[in-house]
């Protein structure tokens, strides 16, 4: 995970907070979640690969 990925993951977590705040507009709510998922795919995949290399199952 690079610092860029950490930034993406942090912004994704902020967007998850926006999603959890249940804004009045359902489009705002679900677009926040969609952007959060898109931002977190690469960092989460890297983290999973790292965990797998560190602790082989």
């Amino acid at each position: 995970m690079t610092p860029d990925h950490a930034l993406s993951l942090g912004i994704a977590l902020l967007l998850v907070a926006l999603w959890a705040s249940k804004p009045r507009s359902w489009l705002l709510r679900w677009s926040a979640l969609a952007v959060a998922v898109s931002l977190s795919i690469q960092p989460v995949a890297d983290l999973l690969k790292w965990v797998r290399g560190w602790w082989p199952l």
């Binding site: 995970m1 690079t2 610092p3 860029d4 990925h5 950490a6 930034l7 993951l9 942090g10 912004i11 994704a12 977590l13 902020l14 998850v16 907070a17 926006l18 959890a20 705040s21 249940k22 804004p23 507009s25 489009l27 705002l28 679900w30 677009s31 969609a34 952007v35 998922v37 898109s38 795919i41 690469q42 995949a45 890297d46 983290l47 999973l48 690969k49 790292w50 797998r52 290399g53």
Partner: protein, 147 residues
Amino acid sequence: MLTGRQAFRAGFFLGLGLWVGSCLVTGCAAANDRAGDAALTAGGAAAGSAIGGPLWAGVAAAAATMWNWLGGTERAEAVVPPGPLDSILDPLRSFAWLIAFVLVLLALACWRFPAARAFLMARPLREKMAARRRLAASLPPPTRRDS
């Protein structure tokens, strides 16, 4: 207790403050690294607060701080061998971004154009029927003359 919206705002400004503060302390050369650390702490605290409340905000912020303190991002960067996940990662990411862009464009259209808002935010028929039933229930019962 913070509401979700307050948690989002607090997390945003906490991240900004952490980033600026750590850049001032460590020097601007490492601004990119510090931005990742600050975003992880603030995002974790905001998401934890919005989903689980103050206890989870504290747990998430402490976990993110420990991760940063132990240099987790640099450690996780060290060895990432290519795996079977890589083949599905690119199409998955493209698909997720496509959905996200469509939703963001629709949200922007609803925000700026009333016609799009009226079309997309039209209440379903069952909601209208329920509102009509509630209105009918709130009216006095019909008299013999009415019926």
